[in-house]
Symmetry: C2
Subunit: 705 residues, 2 copies
């Protein structure tokens, strides 16, 4: 292909960033409401900033340490000299995505509340625009960084290597994978830390405020209420931003890495980036379809959001064909056009997983309604019902991913041409799935903004109808979030598979004579498989325990304030919000270390003991089990949340009844499931692969077996 | 080796059966207590008999159907003609083991209550003796059937094949594996059906009786009380008997099957059976060490039980050496003695897994105490704590199994001689782990008897101290049950691994030219891995939902009786126990079908679509994930149970307090975890392999890929 076309990639990313910028301008043009609303919003903003500052400082230390480790490895010849820098930039931009998303979200919350006091649609517009900022910042930054590295490596650092040679693309992809590892590390810290913060604050606020003191949710008398709202921003927004940045970048770098072994070289490496670039344009076009008349109902709003996504997908379906035809030189190699099938399979799989996620977690369908009914016999049956619902919901996504892998593999010539070509197709299907991330993330990220707006409406004593409107937006956000989760989990599985193959490629390059025996009957592979299957469980246990411990500290503090601050319950004295924010911040900082390190150390430790074959087994085990467990945790949590909402809508006794209390227990259990442990597993399985790739040289040299 | 030595195998089994017979005589010599106690015991016995009769009738239909299917396959040349018969006998004897165990348990319950009214030790003696009957019936029947088939096949049916040739042993092991499949199918039905019965009755009785009506556990006014006690017998006794029969037989037949590919032929096939035979003698000797003075405390009792197990293990350690030396002809092949290391590694791994199971689930250790402490903040934190405890507890068992596989593999020459030899060692380590099953099962199986005795003491209004003694026995039983679970889960993982290898051997025999590509990057393997990882989740979901549905019916019935039977609460009218038993029976019958069929149909369906490689991936995925999930579910459940007991002992407010209620919720959730879904997974992973083996020919011929 003509390399000049590649300039479309940075152009796409700049368009995305400009679009995000104008959307941000638009959001900031709305009124922030009354003095009190501004004050509350400022408190949340300050708390969130304070948290992120502390988090980035802590994570900075980790990155500095890793920089030194990677530097030493680069110095001793285990890695190329760019690796440490690529690692740092990956982390930096992942963090930046989360930071910008959070900035706009904390600026949009009061504005959404104010706009909702005028009309539901106006509220939606503010919230959705702020989601758009987040969505396009993530894809814009992701593609920008990737193309900068690609240009630098190709035309500056590796310009001496034969242009478009396998050696050149291979060297480039190795550096870019480290970039991905940086992004994954950052994402894991952000997801785990943010997840711990938000759920500790949430659980702490609920347990003492709602249950013990009997005051409503988001009541300003609750000392943990600001921390709770800060949590939505640092967990659901900043954490999600870093997370999806990582997914996006990860799927692209994994596919770039597979382009070489598939023999596609530059053209093959360009495909995922060009698809991503065209995906940005498609997503922008899609956002213009998200519009509707004033005063419509939720169903219409939802179909408006969906329309945007479908339009974007349709554009990709059309535009992907010429890209593949041209980049893979299909004029001379007609069979290669089959890769197009991989894009389609990825897109369809993403939509289907999203649909089934919604089916299992939305109160408009039977599973969650049945779960709500089980509250009639108490909280134990709600828990059993929710866990078995989550477990049952793993069936279809697993089959969909399986079919998608098979279709991508076959379409891309896996059986007819060669394994490598087929596996490249699997990577491409992940890219296809995430190509519309700009708009799907926008429809996803506005949920937490609406949630926060509801909190502000409550604390600022706005009329009840405002809260009702923000609740409607929030509930709509839950539905779109389900679709977003489908994409996140599905793409994580496909990307992780592509990364496993990239790992094995790396091993073959580093040690061409290495005796790879990946048969599942080879004991290191088998043992690796067991260890890999166990890791997501261990990791989830650590993150859930961390939430529990951090929440415990909040419970103690809130109880103390209720006891010691005179006049707090009467509303004559103000609670000490800052201390609760600080406790959550410190708790999250401390607790995020162990789980994150588990993700980084495990592949190195397994590698040093069981060797390359063991690592491959571990990656396969962790990917398969992690995928299933993540789906289960996300869907159990989502269903519990919505079963509670269903009861609150007046079914089975409504708010305050015994069944309602039972569903509250379910929701509390579901919180760390769906917002801390579940989504972190998606990152974990990719991080494991990337760490394995970066440390492959070390493992080959020093492994015991 | 001299084939005449093989006669030691049936001799061992006959000794076991005689020992069981005399122990049964001993139990039946004790008094059954008052008229009322006899009546209650009779009700339980009748209910249990009625259930088993119905279960065997239902399962009989399934076996008849399978007999026809296998018969057709045998007729068309896919299988040898013995397969259908081997399948039937495996199922028959597995069921018989459960039946005999249940017979003695239902005869021992009132006798244990009566003996406990005299002294704690007398109660222990009756209960332990009845456990011994169960333990030795299982190993005796298992070994008897195996040796009968072995003799018939070797000296009658395949006598025309060259004696001790690979072909002969191969033909024998193929038939014996079908025998294993029959046992597994039966065990799955018994475990799932019994598990559903017992938990439906338990949950139903608790929810209405304890929670709604406020009457104590085992109160005769509760209409579900007899069903609850029947449940202990059909689930914990008959289910466990069929289950462990299957484990025992499964580990032996898997190893026999591997003996050929390892090149050991007859001698290698004899090793597992001779080890099992010597294990019987060792276990009998061990039981004589289970004795202590009158009026000692629980700790002494526990160490008495432990002493028996340790003595048995020590005997095996000594006796296994000459067996291996002689059978594997180590005089001429000194390296083969390494297989002895596999036995040791299996024995040690079993003990270690048992120890860590106890550590994580006993209230004498920190994890369960911490879990009990989390009840102070309500049931949600108890649930989160229990799940994360269970997840955390998977780390060590996974590493232990991993190390055990590696050690067995290396000791048996996996790296130095050949893979096949190493994998044979893995099978042998499972046999080593289960060699002391006679006594470990005895220390395990008396728990439900003590539990039942407590129920009878309560219903017959015996003095409170009797109930205290039976509770003490029950609690001791929980601890030994933890050890038993460790053996069951650990051996299931090792046996399943051996069976996967046996499957691949079978494929190589059936289709020597088949292109086996078991690399984890081969898409069918990879997709199989995902499907396999999902199956234990799907299966657990089905079994948990089944418990919920069956319990729901009991709740409705108990409520009806409380409302409609005048004088029931006052104790002037008698409850209609039989209807509750009948509802549980019908519920369990209906609900056990779908999960059991999932285990049988999945490998065939996956095989027909993804082919042999896909099946291998599925088996590996299901084994790894199933092992981890089973450990998690068993330990979460165990810890919840004991956290409740810890609170009931007077901690955090004791019985009736809010923390106690929170732990009751945990225990209720844990019931299906630890007694239905968790233990069934152990059987599932082996059944999947055995079905794959039996249907290998079909899959090779008709697979899509």
């Amino acid at each position: 292909m003509d390399e000049r076309f590649f300039i479309l990639v940075p152009i796409g990313s700049i368009i995305a960033l400009c679009f995000a910028f104008f959307q941000a301008k638009k959001v900031l043009g709305f009124s922030e409401g009354s003095e009190l609303m501004q004050k509350i919003s400022r408190s949340v903003r300050q708390g969130a900033n304070a948290y992120l500052k502390r988090q980035y400082a802590g994570v900075g230390l980790f990155f500095a340490f890793m920089f030194v480790v990677l530097g030493v490895m680069a110095f001793t010849g285990f890695l190329t000299p760019f690796v440490p820098f690529a690692f740092i930039t990956g982390g930096f931009f992942s963090g930046l995505s989360g930071f910008i998303g959070m900035k706009i979200a904390t600026s949009a919350n009061a504005r959404t509340a104010q706009a909702s006091s005028e009309s539901l649609n106006r509220g939606l517009r503010v919230a959705f625009s702020s989601g758009t900022v987040m969505g396009f910042t993530v894809v814009g930054l992701g593609l920008l960084d990737l193309s900068i590295w690609f240009f630098l490596l190709k035309y500056v650092f590796y310009a001496d290597l034969a242009v478009d040679s396998a050696a050149q693309i291979r060297a480039i992809s190795a550096a870019m994978l480290t970039f991905g590892m940086g992004a994954s590390s950052m994402a894991l810290f952000a997801r785990v830390g943010g997840g711990i913060f938000t759920k500790a604050a949430d659980v702490g606020a609920d347990l003492v405020g709602k249950v013990e003191a009997g005051i409503p949710e988001d009541d300003p008398r609750n000392p943990a209420v600001i921390a709770d709202n800060v949590g939505d921003n640092v967990g659901d927004v900043a954490g999600m931003g870093a997370d999806l940045y990582e997914s996006y970048v990860g799927s692209i770098v994994a596919t770039v890495a597979l382009a070489v072994s598939a023999g596609y070289n530059f053209g093959g490496a360009a495909v995922p980036m060009l698809i991503a670039s065209i995906g940005i344009i498609a997503s922008i076009v899609g956002t213009f379809f998200v519009r509707c008349k004033e005063n419509t109902n939720q169903k219409v709003l939802l179909s408006a959001l969906r329309k945007g996504t479908y339009v974007s997908s349709a554009i990709i379906v059309i535009a992907a064909y010429p890209i593949i035809y041209y980049c893979l030189d299909c004029a001379n190699n007609p069979a290669r056009i089959g890769v197009y099938g991989a894009i389609l399979s990825g897109l369809i799989a993403g939509v289907l997983i999203g649909f089934f996620t919604e089916y299992f977690t939305s109160q408009t369908y039977k599973p969650t309604q049945d779960l709500a009914a089980s509250s009639l016999t108490g909280s134990a049956t709600v828990i059993i019902g929710g866990i078995s619902l989550g477990m049952m919901s793993t069936l279809l996504p697993t089959l969909i991913v399986g079919i998608s892998v098979m279709v991508s593999f076959i379409c891309s010539g896996g059986f007819s041409v060669g394994y490598e070509q087929g596996l490249y197709g699997v990577g491409i299907s992940a890219v296809g799935m995430l190509s519309t991330l700009g708009i799907t993330l926008a429809t996803d990220a506005y949920g937490p903004v609406a949630d926060n707006a509801g909190g502000i409406a409550e604390m600022a004593h706005l009329p009840a109808e405002v809260r009702e409107r923000t609740d409607a937006l929030d509930s709509l956000g839950n539905t779109t979030a389900a679709t977003g989760k489908g994409f996140a989990i599905g793409s994580a599985a496909l990307t992780a598979l592509a990364l496993i193959v990239a790992y094995l490629d790396e091993v073959k390059i580093k040690a061409p004579d290495f005796n790879l025996d990946l048969s599942i009957t080879n004991p290191p592979v088998l043992i690796g498989l067991f260890v890999g299957a166990m890791l997501p469980f261990l990791f989830s246990s650590m993150t859930m325990k961390a939430v529990g411990r951090a929440a415990q500290n909040i419970v103690v503090e809130v109880r103390r304030q209720f006891k010691e601050i005179k006049g707090l319950m009467e509303g004559t004295a103000e609670a000490d919000y800052a201390t609760c924010v600080d406790i959550c911040t410190r708790g999250a900082q401390k607790e995020m270390i162990a789980p994150a390190l588990t993700g980084i150390i495990s592949p190195i430790a397994v590698g040093l003991i069981l060797g390359v074959n063991g690592v491959a087994g571990m990656l396969a085990g962790a990917t398969a089990t992690g995928f299933v467990l993540a789906v289960m945790m996300a869907n159990s949590g989502g269903a519990w949340d919505n079963a509670k909402k269903y009861v609150e809508e007046g079914n089975y006794g409504g708010k305050g009844s015994e069944p309602h209390k039972a569903t509250v227990v379910g929701d509390t259990v579901g919180d760390p499931f769906k917002d801390t442990s579940g989504p972190s597993i998606n990152i974990l399985i990719k991080l494991l692969s990337m760490v394995s790739i970066v440390f492959a040289g070390l493992v080959i040299k020093f492994a015991l077996f």
